[in-house]
Structure formats: C-alpha cells, structure tokens
Symmetry: C2
Subunit: 340 residues, 2 copies
C-alpha cells in the first residue's frame, strides 16, 4: 500500500459489537486517520456514533461506498464481506476482513501480527483476521512453539456471549435479570438459555461431529503457523460471560518442556501477560482480560503423566485482541507502523 501520513479508513459494520470496538481502538491508538467513514446496513444508516468527541454519521453500505478509501475494516458478517469486499478492492482499498468469508482462501493471508506479520505483504487486496478463539489461543502458544515445537493441541474453550454479537450480550443480561426475578428466560439469539447455563458452541455441527467454531480453530492454526502437520482438536463451549474468551489448552511438545524457559519466552512475548500466582490462587479470568489488549496466561504446569505434556489457561478480550484490535494492528502494519 502507498505510504501516506494519513489514511482514509472505512469501517464496515460500524454499529456492531466489533465495529464499535474498532472505533474505540482507532481512537485509543491514535490511528493516522484522514477520513473515517462509518458504513452499516440501511437499518442503521442515519444514526451517529462518537469518535474523538465528534458525532459521525453512519452511512449505508453500498457497492460504491469505497471511493478514495485506503483501508476497509470489515466486520458485518461473512455474506456482506463476500459481496462487498471485491468492490472495495476494485476501488483500490485493502480490506482487513474480520469475517470467516476469506480466511481459508489460499490467496488471502490470515494474520496475527505477533505471529506472522510478514504474510501481510503477500496480500492481493484482502487480508483475513482469524477467528477470535484462534487468535486468543495462538498468541500465548506461539512463543512456546518457537522454542519447543508443538505437535498436538487439545483445547476446551469457555467462550463469552460477545462472540455472537451485541444482541447476544444483551440476551445474557436480560435472561439473567429474568431468571433472578423468577421469570422464564426468553431465547432470541442463542438456541439455549445462556444465563446460569452453558452449552456446546452454537455454530452448525458438521458430519464429523465438529462444529464450525472448532473447525475454524483447527484449520486456521495450521494456516497461521504454516504447519499442516500440527494436530489440533477442540471442544468449543459458550459460557455466561460477557466478553472475554477463556481456554484450557493442553500441548504436546516435541521436547520435554522446561517451565523456566517457557515462562521466560512468555515474559518476553508481545501481546501476552503472565498471571500465574499459585499462592493467591490468582490466574487468568475473563473479567480481568476484558478491556485489555493482552492475552492473559497462567496455570503453566506439566502433565504429571506425560513428560511432553503442558497445560496453560488463557483469557483474552474477544472484541479486542479476538477481533477489532487484531484488525487494527494489521491496518497499522499496512500503514508502515511496526508490529506491537
């Protein structure tokens, strides 16, 4: 992309949970903006959103919305990206797509800036932002992978409502109020009650028994790590938490894990913060990951029955590092900022 001092950025799906977070992050990180264009469906067009104290008008997303736009941050759903991204690319923009539409397309780089920033430069107009659970898993295990090759990942997730959007977060709140008031929980977004309950992830289950969320984590890990051989298996679960995903990750490493070396690697890693105080029983929690940029990692311990086994327990903000922050970081690298 042509280097400038300031860029025209369009946020596609600006009014959604991730879109809102993108605005916040562009502001917090003082992104070099010339013009910021907010795009959304016809339903949301005409409303305003705050940015740096000013009210910005939300415009209707159209095929000709991308004139003079340098970067599109897209987060309006897979079908919307599928349709509109080619128009943005034709108009000369680079699309950082936060949906699953292009992630496994071999022509599209799939990027976590802390892991494979060099892949950004291979783009042909579209760069894909990985699935939230994938990002939150890979950021803390990549520093380990670099010093002791990971052969197998067995992971169980504890995923927040936010992954299903702003309405799902609202549903958790409304249902919780209703249940506490002795009323029946009404289901609109999720297929099952989320308040004071949990359930296997609500994405479609495929023939092999895996749901789409699990398959994303399996496939995307191989693509981001450039490692088709890494074995990954997942159970994805939705829990009554608002907006940070937690994961219990079991790794099988090539060599016997050295906990001191692994701790040191994590301490020096960007995007990771160790929270691992056994004496105080203080480890990563979604409440503390919420609103932060780092993926919290703790409960580092060996498998007492497998000399190559290692556990970790991680938590990261689904809307920030799991989505909006990762996309903005990619955009920053496009603009020539170094990865951070």
């Amino acid at each position: 992309m042509e280097k400038k001092s300031k860029y025209n950025v369009a946020v596609m799906g600006a009014t959604g949970a991730v879109g809102q977070e993108m605005l916040l992050i562009l502001e917090q990180r003082d992104f070099p903006l010339d013009r910021l264009v907010l795009l959304a469906s016809k339903r949301s067009a005409g409303s305003t959103m705050k940015f740096k104290g000013r009210d910005l008008l939300v415009e209707e997303l159209k095929e000709d919305s991308f004139k003079d736009i340098d970067i599109v941050l897209a987060s309006a759903g897979g079908a919307v990206s599928k349709h509109f991204a080619p128009f943005a690319v034709k108009a000369g923009a680079v699309v950082v797509d936060n949906t699953s539409a292009y992630r496994m397309d071999p022509k599209v780089p799939l990027v976590v800036p802390e892991i494979n920033p060099a892949d950004i430069q291979k783009h042909q107009g579209i760069i894909a932002n990985p699935n939230c659970s994938t990002i939150i898993m890979l950021v803390p295990i990549h520093p380990i992978h670099k010093i002791n090759h990971i052969k197998r990942i067995i992971v169980s997730t504890y995923q927040a409502a936010s992954g299903a959007g702003a309405k799902a977060m609202q549903e958790l709140e409304t249902q919780s109020r209703d249940v506490l008031a002795g009323k029946k929980a009404r289901k609109e977004v999720f297929p099952h009650q989320i308040a004071f309950n949990l359930f296997s992830h609500n994405s479609a289950v495929k023939e092999d028994g895996y749901n789409e969320e699990e398959l994303k984590m399996i496939k995307e890990t191989k693509k981001i790590f450039h490692d088709e051989k890494i074995a990954v298996t997942v159970t994805s679960v939705r829990v009554p938490v608002f907006r940070a995903h937690t994961e219990a990750i079991y790794l099988e490493l090539t060599n016997k894990p050295d906990l001191d070396k692994i701790r040191k690697a994590l301490m020096n890693a960007v995007g990771v913060r160790i929270v691992d105080d056994a004496g105080k029983n203080y480890f990563p929690m979604p409440l503390e990951a919420t609103g932060g940029d780092d993926v919290l990692v703790g409960r580092l311990r060996l498998d007492l029955s497998n000399p190559h086994g290692l556990w970790l327990f991680v938590s990261g903000d689904q809307l920030r590092k799991g989505a909006a922050l990762n996309a903005v970081q990619i955009a920053e690298i496009l603009c020539g900022r170094s990865a951070s």
Copy 2:
C-alpha cells in the same frame, strides 16, 4: 451389615447443600427408614427440616450421637468426618462419607455404585463417596473403559457453585443481582467474582501446579478403576452455574474407537443418558442435568488428528449424582438393594 427391614440413618451435616439433597433423595427413593436423625453443628441445632411432610428437629452433632444408628451419611466437611466417623464406627454404624477425609485411605473403599459396587463389601466401617467431578466423569466413561481400555484422560471442567456449598450458590445469585444493578460484587465465599466470570478452581494449588480438585480426580480415578496405570490430567474451572458440573473429556483409547459400539454401550449403561442431537445443536447442559439422576453425555466424536482419540461432553447434577445420590445408592446396597 445386618439385614433388617428398616434402618436407623443419621445425616451428618443435614442443613448443608448436600445434606438437604440427601433428605430429598431418601424421601424420593423411599429409603427403608426406621429412624432418621438429623445432625449438624451447634449453630444449626434446634432448627427443623421437612421430611415426608413432617418437621424433624436438627440435633447437635456429638461424639455420642450414634447410638443404635445403622448408617451415617456424612457431609459436614473433612475435619468433622475425621473426628466423628470413628465414634460412629465404634457405635456400630457404617459411615458413608461424602468428604475427602478417607477417600485415599487404603482401608476405605471408594465407590461409584455403577462402577465398583463389589468394593462396598470390603468396608471396615467407612465407605468413601468420591469427589463430585470424579463421579460425573467416571459414570459415562466407565462403559467405554469396559469395551476399549482407556489409556489417557485429558479433561477440562466447568464446575458449578454448588460444589462450594449453599453459601456459594447464594453468592452467585447475590453477585449477579449486584452486577446487574451496577453495584460492586462482594466476595465472601469465593476468592474471585463468580458472577459473569469464571476462574481456576478455588482449592489450594500444590507445588506441582495442580489444585486439590484436580489431584482428587487424578488419584480417585485410579482407585475406583483399580488401574494405577491410567493417565489422568485435569484443568478444573469454576463457572457461574448453580448446581451441575460439566466436563469436556478427551480420551485416548487402546483400540480405535468404534462410535456405534460406544453409543450402544452408553445406551445400555445405568446412570447415563445420551443427549447428542447434532442437527438441533442439542447436547448436555447443566440446566438440564440439574435435578436429574443421570449424567448426560453427548458430543461423541473422534479426534480427526488421532485415530485413538475420542471426545465427550458430559453434565451431571453436582448435589445429586455428584454427592447425595451416590451416597444414598451406596447405603441402599449396604441394605441389600441391588445397584441401580
């Protein structure tokens, strides 16, 4: 134990969450009772509890509380069992102990009636009831273990507040109300906020990095299965759910798993109910396990990257099968009823 038509039963810790559930289960299963004695700490003594429509007085637990008692169902904490169980045994009673006090004592059988009922007959006055998470894990995997020996278990838990007692369930409710009202969550029972949050299990963490809950699951599995070689590793997590524990269980089996055979084995197993409808995205949930006797099991699927790997997702009522029901079932076998 001497066979009678009716037995004198004492419930130690009758007013606690598990004690209350024991009363309910003794009533529901029409346990052959002559006298039912409710024992609790001095603080709770003098109150009354309902049983079959009658008010029963709660008596203070004392060293001489066990005269003419046949069976003691103990659930008043490890220290209380450690002190009082020997007095009960001396008075001629058999103690079914729901605490961790005697579980790993080689002279004390550790029993899940669906798995190792024969061990009951080896008792020397005390029979231990396993940890709730252990029971809920082992009931659904034992039918698999019988047809295809389990070599390794890697499990992540989603444990309800009830495991920490009635006050912890109250804390989940109170904190949830406070958070929804925009107030700060007050912590009394748990070290961290449980409402809309989750955290690594609140039991003490040992030098090897495992907490007591995890070590219980590891050690108790070996004892109940009579298999010192089975490899077990665990991450235990507390989630904002009231009273059923859920577990994502990964098994490594001796032979390639045959899903049809495994499903058949589970269908024929006592204490297990298959909930596994991929089309409807309908699998075990704590809300549906609550109040029931069966451990729900679903998400049966192979590991796409390991021909010997198998996942299951299970949920069981922590207060019933995880505690009170299992203890009453042991008592029933002591009384000559067959395991069911």
